[in-house]
C-alpha cells in the first residue's frame, strides 16, 4: 500500500554531463555568501617567484580562497562515493528506454510511471574543503619578498632614491598608489584586508621618479624617520599625543633649503602605522590628521631599535646599551617608560643574561608553534578519521 501513495520520481542520467565543483562552506563563509550583498571572492595562489621565495611547509602548490577579509586554504578531498548533482528533468525520455525502469504497459494500457523526473547532470568525485591553519594567514612574509628594500645608504642603486630638486615628481596620486599596491597584492595569496594589514605593518610605500616601485623601509630607515619626527615635533612644538596635521609634521622634518631627508610617502606610511587605530583612514584615503598612542610608539620604537642594532644572534647587544639607545630615540617625557617588559613577547632572545638580539616576527610564530603542532598530532590520534590514523601509522 505504502508504495502507491509514496512519492516516486523517475531518475535519469543526462548526457553529456556538466562540470561542477562542490565547496564545503564553513559557517562564516555561508553567512557571507547568503548575505544580501555578498562580495566577490577570489581564488589566489602565489606567483611562481613568490612561491619559490616563500615556501609553505604544508604544500608545494596550493590555492587559497579569499573573502575581502579572510583567507582559507583549499583542500581537495576525494570520496569513494559518487556524488551526483541532480535537477528536475527536461522530461524528454524515449519511451523505448523507459522499459529499463518499468514493465511494458499493463492491461490498462498506460505505463505505471511517475509523471515527474529528476536527472543527474554531473558527478563529482571530490569535495573542496576549507581550513585555516594554526596561526592564520599573513601577507608579511610575501610582502617582504615582493617589495623592494628601502635603505638608501646600503645599496648603490637605491642611493638616488632620495628626493631630488623636483620633489613633486615623486608624488603620485592616491589612485596610482592603489593601483601599484593592488598589483603587488594580486600575487599574494591572502585576502585584501590581510594584504593591507601587512602593508601597514611594514610601513610599505609607493615612490619613485623614473621608475615607480613599492618599497619597504629597513629597520634603520624607519628608526631614522622616527628620530626626525621627534626632533621636528620638538622644534615645531607639535604634541605627538594630540591630534596634529600630517602636513605640519612633514614641514617640521624638512631642513631649510636642503632636499627632503626621505620621501613624503614614507613619512605617511609611518604615521599611518603609529597613529591610533580609530583615527587611521583606510589605505585608499590620504592621511591628513593623526595622533600617536604613547605606549604603542614606545613598543614599536623599541622593536625597531633592536631590529636596527641587533638583527641577529651574532650582533647581540648589551641590555643596558640597548635601553640607552631606545630611550634616546624617545621624546624626553617618555624615556622612563622604556623597559624590557614593554617589548612584545618573543621579540628578543638572550644568548647570555646581559645581551639580547632581535627575533623576526615570522620566527617568533614558529617557535610558539612547536607545542601547537604537538597538540595537533595528539588530536589526530584521537580522531576517527581513518585517513589521518593511517597517515600517522605509516610514518612510524
Amino acid at each position: 500500500m505504502s508504495t502507491q501513495t509514496a512519492l516516486s520520481i523517475l531518475f535519469t542520467h543526462t548526457q553529456p554531463q556538466q562540470g561542477f565543483r562542490l565547496l564545503e562552506l564553513p559557517p562564516d563563509l555561508e553567512e557571507l555568501l547568503t548575505s544580501k550583498d555578498a562580495p566577490l571572492l577570489e581564488l589566489k595562489s602565489p606567483s611562481f617567484a613568490l612561491a619559490q621565495a616563500v615556501k609553505d611547509p604544508s604544500a608545494q602548490e596550493y590555492v587559497n580562497l579569499c573573502t575581502p577579509t579572510k583567507t582559507y586554504r583549499i583542500r581537495q578531498v576525494h570520496s569513494s562515493n559518487s556524488i551526483h548533482i541532480i535537477q528536475p528533468s527536461h522530461g524528454e525520455i524515449s519511451q523505448e528506454d523507459i522499459k529499463v525502469v518499468e514493465e511494458e504497459a499493463g492491461e490498462g494500457g498506460g505505463l505505471n510511471l511517475p509523471d515527474e523526473a529528476v536527472t543527474a547532470i554531473a558527478k563529482c568525485g571530490s569535495t573542496l574543503e576549507l581550513h585555516v591553519p594554526e596561526g592564520g594567514f599573513s601577507a608579511i612574509k610575501f610582502l617582504e619578498k615582493a617589495l623592494r628594500l628601502y635603505d638608501p645608504r646600503s645599496g648603490d642603486d637605491d642611493g638616488d632614491m632620495t628626493m631630488g630638486e623636483n620633489a613633486s615628481e615623486g608624488v603620485l596620486s592616491v589612485t596610482q598608489h592603489r593601483e601599484l599596491r593592488d598589483q603587488v597584492c594580486a600575487d599574494i595569496p591572502v585576502s585584501a584586508a590581510q594584504c593591507e594589514a601587512g602593508w601597514l605593518e611594514l610601513c610599505a610605500f609607493v615612490y619613485g621618479k623614473q621608475e615607480v616601485s613599492c618599497w619597504r623601509p629597513s629597520a634603520r630607515m624607519r628608526l631614522n624617520v622616527w628620530k626626525r619626527f621627534v626632533e621636528g615635533a620638538l622644534l615645531q612644538g607639535i604634541d605627538l599625543e594630540k591630534q596634529f596635521l600630517v602636513g605640519d609634521l612633514w614641514k617640521s622634518v624638512l631642513d631649510d633649503d636642503s632636499d627632503p631627508p626621505f620621501p613624503r610617502p614614507l613619512l605617511e606610511a609611518l604615521v599611518r602605522r603609529l597613529c591610533t587605530e580609530d583615527e587611521r583612514p583606510p589605505l585608499s584615503e590620504e592621511i591628513k590628521w593623526a595622533s600617536f598612542d604613547k605606549m604603542q610608539c614606545i613598543q614599536w620604537v623599541g622593536e625597531i631599535c633592536l631590529a636596527a642594532t641587533a638583527p641577529m644572534a651574532s650582533s647581540a647587544v648589551g641590555r643596558s646599551d640597548f635601553l640607552r639607545v631606545w630611550k634616546d630615540c624617545l621624546p624626553e617625557s617618555w624615556r622612563n617608560d622604556a623597559t624590557l617588559s614593554k617589548l612584545p613577547e618573543g621579540s628578543y632572545q638572550s644568548p647570555d643574561p646581559s645581551a639580547m638580539f632581535f627575533v623576526e616576527s615570522s620566527q617568533r610564530k614558529q617557535t610558539s608553534k612547536v607545542p601547537a603542532t604537538g597538540a595537533a598530532a595528539a588530536k589526530a590520534k584521537t580522531t576517527r578519521n581513518w585517513h589521518e590514523l593511517l597517515k600517522n601509522q605509516t610514518r612510524r
Partner: protein, 158 residues
C-alpha cells in the same frame, strides 16, 4: 598565476548551460530538497554504470537518435527515486527523511536517507559569460543530500 574570481551568485537565472527548463516551477522533489536553482545532491556508494558515450553514439547512428531533435543533450532512465514516507500534506514532519529508495533498473534497490549536511555545500560552476578568462560562480548552496550508503539489494519488480 593570476587570481580567479568566484562570484557569489549566478550570472543569470538560466544558468545551468544546457537547461532551458523553468526548473523551480516543476520540482518533483520533497520541498526540503528543493533549491531555487533546482539542484540537489544524491550521494551513493559505488557508481551507476551507463552505456559509454561511444556505444550510445554508435547505437543512435544505426537506429536514429532520439536526442537529435533537441540538441546534443539526452537523458537515459536509470531508475526511480522514492520517498516512501513523504507526504506533501505534512511537510513539517521530518520522519520521512529516514527512508529513501533508489531503484536502479527494476530489480535493484538501494536504501538510504535524507541527511542535513554538517556544512552546507556550494555548487560552483564556470561562468558561461566569461569566455576570455576563467571565472567561477556559486550556482547554489545545498543544505541536504539524499544519501545511499548501503549496497543495492535485489528486489522484485514493483
Amino acid at each position: 598565476m593570476p587570481s580567479i574570481n568566484l562570484h557569489p551568485t549566478s550570472s543569470d537565472a538560466t544558468r545551468t548551460t544546457s537547461s532551458t527548463v523553468p526548473v523551480a516551477a516543476s520540482n518533483p522533489l520533497p520541498q526540503l530538497l528543493q533549491t531555487p536553482s533546482g539542484l540537489a545532491i544524491v550521494e551513493l556508494q559505488g557508481t551507476i554504470n551507463l552505456p559509454s558515450i561511444e556505444a550510445e553514439e554508435e547505437y543512435y547512428e544505426k537506429y536514429g537518435s532520439p536526442s537529435s531533435k533537441h540538441g546534443a543533450s539526452f537523458e537515459t532512465p536509470v531508475g526511480k527515486l522514492m520517498f516512501p514516507d513523504y507526504s506533501p500534506l505534512n511537510p513539517d514532519d521530518t520522519k520521512w527523511m529516514k527512508r529513501a529508495y533508489l531503484y536502479v533498473g527494476r530489480y535493484q534497490r538501494m536504501t538510504g536517507e535524507v541527511k542535513k549536511l554538517p556544512r552546507p555545500i556550494a555548487v560552483l560552476q564556470k561562468r558561461a559569460s566569461a569566455a576570455h578568462s576563467e571565472e567561477l560562480e556559486v550556482v547554489e548552496i545545498v543544505r541536504y543530500k539524499v544519501f545511499f550508503k548501503n549496497r543495492p539489494e535485489p528486489v522484485n519488480d514493483i
